[in-house]
Symmetry: C2
Subunit: 431 residues, 2 copies
Amino acid sequence: MRKKDVKIGLIGFGTVGTGVVRLVKSYQDDLLKQTGTTIQIERILVKDPLKNRPLSVEGKRLTTDPTAILDDPNIDIIIEVMGGIEPAKSYIQRALEKGKHVVTANKDLMALHGDELLHLAEASGCDLYYEASVAGGVPILKTITDGFSSDRITKMIGIVNGTTNYILTKMSRENVPFERALEEAQSFGYAEQDPSSDVDGLDAARKMAILASLGFHTGMNVDDVTCKGIRNITVDDLAYGKQLGYTMKLVGIAKRDERGIEVGVEPTFVKDTHPLAAVNGVYNAIYVYGEAVGETMFYGPGAGELPTATAVLSDLVTVVKNIQLGITGKNKSHTYTEKILKEDGDIYANFFLRLIVQDKCGVLAKLADWMAKEEISLEKVFQKPYATDKNEAELILVTHSASKKSIEQLLSKLKQSDLIHEIKSCFRVEG
Amino acid sequence: MRKKDVKIGLIGFGTVGTGVVRLVKSYQDDLLKQTGTTIQIERILVKDPLKNRPLSVEGKRLTTDPTAILDDPNIDIIIEVMGGIEPAKSYIQRALEKGKHVVTANKDLMALHGDELLHLAEASGCDLYYEASVAGGVPILKTITDGFSSDRITKMIGIVNGTTNYILTKMSRENVPFERALEEAQSFGYAEQDPSSDVDGLDAARKMAILASLGFHTGMNVDDVTCKGIRNITVDDLAYGKQLGYTMKLVGIAKRDERGIEVGVEPTFVKDTHPLAAVNGVYNAIYVYGEAVGETMFYGPGAGELPTATAVLSDLVTVVKNIQLGITGKNKSHTYTEKILKEDGDIYANFFLRLIVQDKCGVLAKLADWMAKEEISLEKVFQKPYATDKNEAELILVTHSASKKSIEQLLSKLKQSDLIHEIKSCFRVEG
């Protein structure tokens, strides 16, 4: 059942949708050579057909009626780039039920309902690919599925949100506070007017859920991912990090060992010698540690019209090849690992602590005593005067590997003590 | 024709072969889950069955007779990790003719005869994969073939030889000369006793031929790759680079535009802001520029027992899946771009020049005049005293984009002039 031409229904005609139409047009020859078929964008679902667009398309191709695409038997593949949960989910379900293959860039949807949709696709004999949902132009999902098929991934650390990486790079390089860096990101269009899903870490958490599901062969959901954003980070924090040889990044960390899985997003000091430390601006990178292969990293643009559209099109090429080979409906990743999420007592890391303490004899000894009781030992410590009029000193501590739970217990003890005036910050350290 | 178990013949039992046997054993369960078959290393071709090995294998599995593997109808897949051109080539040809699929790590062979072998594989309905031949643990060939299927790659810059990257990192960080860094690399086993294929760039050239063939959809051969090694690089060169914000790397550059293709390996100053500048030690990285996606980079271990074995096994998983799906013999990359190699007059880059000149009035003017005649303009220049007793000065120049031919013509003029006492170095600048 080799096909001579493949017809596409495009759902959504915003930035990424425009990029898809552009690329299909400009790479028509290459696509034909690679797949043996011409690829035709048959119809595009839009809200307003009369809207002014950067790219002109014949009016008859535009429709406001989803069934004109989902129920058209001539359409082989749906590309969903409208985003959001509903109605995108219903559209995709209907398409799969009608035997259409689906390519989506929708991270929100795949992080929440990926498992359900992949099952439906498999049951319908249809393909469902979503490379563009994580790290735009970096083909990380294919890399994890195919490149690491013979290895056991034990750790992934991702800079998977370009907006926050831009803000942190700006804060660190130019010494400007969070609010000003955010404003600039907004003025360049790197951040939304309501930036919360980026700066509070939710966007990164969604992508980490998708990565962890594929990398660990288990069904992870965005609700399984702990999440902390970058709003409270100060230039002082970054400056102390620099002195210690650390760069601040909002990273997603997914780790597994024989005791279980942890997946979380939080601001983290990455050692300057770590390859992630050099990833700046709106770029994304995913560091993948495989038991056999060791350290690898995959770097590229995390968003943008053409990078994201490229990822959509590479999925499209895969689907068209699968159609030609008669092997669609087989890309459901095997989820054979039981999902055992770790408790805080089982999650270990190094931590950076910055405290304002009473500047008197015995404070450090007291602190060391509390830490010993929580089985926390120190790698580095330094103290300097803070507000001398209030007789305060500033204490910077970096711990050896300690459990998250013991750090939290320590912090709650510190909060109750008169000796500790303020807990300025507490960050994970990686690398 | 789904198979319940797949039998492997392993040709070569050195470092990588040992890694393959180790991984097949330790990931047996994962491999079964992913492919639905058990994978069994049936026989191993060795030179000396009685040799002491780091891994013990039943004696009956070892053979010194290639036909015991190549002619055994029970063996489905050959893994070739013996290296070299012959007899590896004959073995692979025979295996393909007998309908066996082949996974190889042999860069020498693929760089020289890849096109021929891929054609034979296709004609025989067999798979031939060679991920391990470039950048060991980095799944770069899959990434180029699948991840960039919908983009047009216009540039690849690769640090694809770990030995030379180790030596240059060492020279740069510790200010030691080439010979001492090489000795250390040899003592750690990172360099061979005869290091010429690494330090003279041939190993990197082979890998660039493979990358350029796949990335540009054309049949590139190692003879199409220009090649210059790192023997003549001095710590002075590296120090000047540092001052200018450059890091010295032995890189392979493959570029194409409407006028043709250039592929070459040479010591190059990479700007410190470029992601390749941070790739240190024995690590490899390939920077890929796609017309639509923009900048991406793929980083990981370039060699080593387990990293390379992982790449071999990921190919193995692909082949086993292809067997199950009944789609073997279809992985020949489409070579539809005509191979037009650029002449030096069409190859443009920025260049760094270090000259010892006569320290007298008018030298710079004369030099500027020669450069203008060759249409070379300057981005940076600085001069400092060199051997004052001989009335000599040292001149560092960085050009704007200029053709290789015009730089060569300039250099030959400089050699003939009394004003120029020595041409210390001339390097390409990228980033």
